[in-house]
């Protein structure tokens, strides 16, 4: 019996350990491989890369050779900044208004605001394209900003509502019983306490906007090109090695951002909650 049990335990360690190792390999290896490939000396993306050079990074940062990519990067950053800004404003207001409200209608509104997370993005993207076109808007970054705000605001609402539900209601009550106005309590008590939640959500929303495909796919045009769509184009036609350099930059950026967010608001802890 004891022998069989230790055999079973051994098989458990082997199987579970092996599969987990495979999972880690699958998660990490492609990222490392792309980073290595981006420094290739050759003209194709074969692995292992031949030699070491920064040629694709130089081509990428060259303003005249890569104007379209630069344009797309600026557009993506601009859209992400504005949509996150509006998202913070509207989203945190909505969370403050609804998080403690047990009314049926408040639950419905909350469900509505979170629904872009489950709704297929392509369906909304296509709907937005038809809607804006049929009511007579011309394609512009403003429309993309509006679309991105809708699909990224759930991240802000989720983390902000989580922070609000952890607030001790006594703080609010004591502030008000000491004579502070609603606005003063909001400014000096509530907002400072939920700020890390808003910040974490805003970060996720910003990243989701930078990465958004379904809305940008339908609402962007050649003039309002967005980075993921541009990169998709670079992969679809001839495989342009500059895309490895773009990936290298984005991987580095994600890594650094992740470290910064971990130190400032404890992002991983918040995401597990």
């Amino acid at each position: 019996m004891g022998r069989r049990r230790s055999l079973a335990d051994l098989s458990y360690t082997l199987v579970i350990g092996g599969l987990a190792a495979l999972a880690l390999l699958i998660i990490v290896a492609p990222v490392v491989i792309v980073l290595m490939t981006s420094f290739t000396e050759g003209r194709s993306l074969k692995f292992p890369p031949t030699g070491f050079s920064l040629q694709w990074y130089e081509a990428l940062f060259d303003a005249s050779k890569s104007r379209q990519i630069h344009r797309a990067v600026y557009n993506s950053l601009e859209v992400a900044a504005w949509s996150t800004g509006f998202g913070i404003l509207f989203g945190s207001m909505a969370s403050l208004g609804l998080a403690r409200n047990r009314h049926q209608l408040a639950r419905v509104a909350d469900g509505l605001f979170m629904s872009p997370l489950v709704l297929p993005g392509l369906t909304f993207g296509l709907a937005a394209l038809m809607y804006f076109t049929l009511i007579g808007f011309r394609p512009s970054l403003n429309l993309i900003i509006a679309g991105h705000m809708i699909v990224t605001v759930p991240f802000i609402i989720r983390t902000t509502s989580a922070s609000i539900s952890q607030l001790d209601p006594a703080l609010n009550d004591s502030s008000q019983s000491l004579g502070a106005s609603w606005l003063y309590t909001m400014r000096r008590v509530t907002l400072p306490l939920i700020a890390p939640g808003i910040f974490a959500g805003a970060f996720l929303a910003f990243m989701a906007s930078i990465d958004n495909v379904p809305v940008s796919l339908f609402l962007s045009t050649a003039r309002t090109d967005m980075l993921p769509i541009r990169m998709w184009g670079m992969m679809e036609s001839t495989l342009d090695p500059r895309i490895a350099a773009v990936s290298g930059v984005l991987i580095t950026a994600a890594f650094l951002l992740m470290l910064v967010m971990e130190w400032t608001v404890g992002l991983t802890r918040r995401m597990r909650e």
Partner: protein, 279 residues
């Protein structure tokens, strides 16, 4: 008076959602009931055309199957990783969660591109297999469903792991100790204790992975190619290449309905199994 003021804070977002979320979706439904691509003749023509074509059902089934295969693959290798996380020291846990979350912050396009480099003709897998002498010709991994499922497994993995880990971390460690003290093997403890109790996380993970992989337009088109047709590709072709908006509306509503149907079925099963454990 104050109560009134509080819920009114939600009004700006409610207005935004009404005008740029609900209204477009309603219009999408409306447009799907027009027969011609100029959107002038109302009728059920496009629905009849889509639902009367056997090809449509194949595309729907392929799309749903792609989602289910990806869900299975993420469970098979993701669940063990979550178990390892559970047993790890706090320091190792921090490293693991960092590795798990980081891909989430990395553009889907970059993750898709990575798999082109890995699976391509001159990619890592082919180079390795050829040098080991296992194959003499490069395998075709891109533009196959297998390659697509492998790629999506990595791309969607964080969506499975985060809810799993979040639920598992809250499990009482004493339960596992009790199970093992009562003589259960680790396998038995896994299937009789840990899996049932982590069901809410598992279900949440499945929902996210399914919804995301069935609609992963970029990965599907770039790794799957144009020969593997899924609903997102059909929507894109019909709306931005052929400019048949009513038909595109029909397909995208079909995508919406099929994804939501599977998602609600999964969450219903999840609730039932959850009820079994706690009741």
């Amino acid at each position: 008076m104050r109560k009134l003021a509080e819920w009114q804070l939600a009004l700006p977002l409610a207005l935004a959602f009404a005008s740029i979320f609900l209204a477009p979706l309603l219009m999408l439904v409306g447009v799907s009931f027009f027969n011609d691509d100029k959107i002038t003749q109302p009728g059920f023509g496009q629905w009849a055309k889509f639902l009367g074509d056997p090809f449509s059902y194949k595309v729907i089934a392929d799309t749903m199957l792609l989602g289910l295969k990806t869900v299975c693959a993420t469970i098979v290798i993701g669940y063990p990783l979550a178990l390892i996380y559970l047993d790890a020291s706090p320091r190792l846990q921090k490293v693991l969660i960092f590795i798990i979350v980081m891909p989430l912050l990395l553009s889907v396009v970059v993750r898709t591109f990575a798999w082109i480099v890995v699976l391509g003709r001159e990619g890592v897998v082919n180079t390795l297999l050829m040098q080991l002498g296992i194959i003499s010709e490069p395998l075709r991994l891109l533009q196959t469903e297998l390659g697509l499922v492998i790629s999506l497994t990595q791309i969607e993995m964080p969506l499975m792991l985060l809810p799993l880990i979040s639920v598992m971390s809250r499990l009482d460690p004493n339960l596992r100790d009790a199970s093992s003290a009562l003589g259960a093997s680790r396998w038995r403890t896994l299937f009789k204790v840990i899996v049932p109790l982590s069901m809410p996380g598992l279900v949440a993970g499945c929902l996210l992975v399914f919804a995301s992989s069935t609609t992963a337009f970029i990965s599907q088109t770039v790794i799957g190619g144009v020969r593997l047709i899924y609903l997102p590709l059909l929507i894109w072709q019909q709306s931005l290449v052929v400019f048949n908006w009513p038909f595109a509306a029909v397909v995208s509503l079909t995508l919406l309905v099929s994804v939501l149907t599977v998602v609600s079925a999964l969450s219903y099963l999840g609730r039932r199994s959850g009820g079994y454990v706690h009741g």
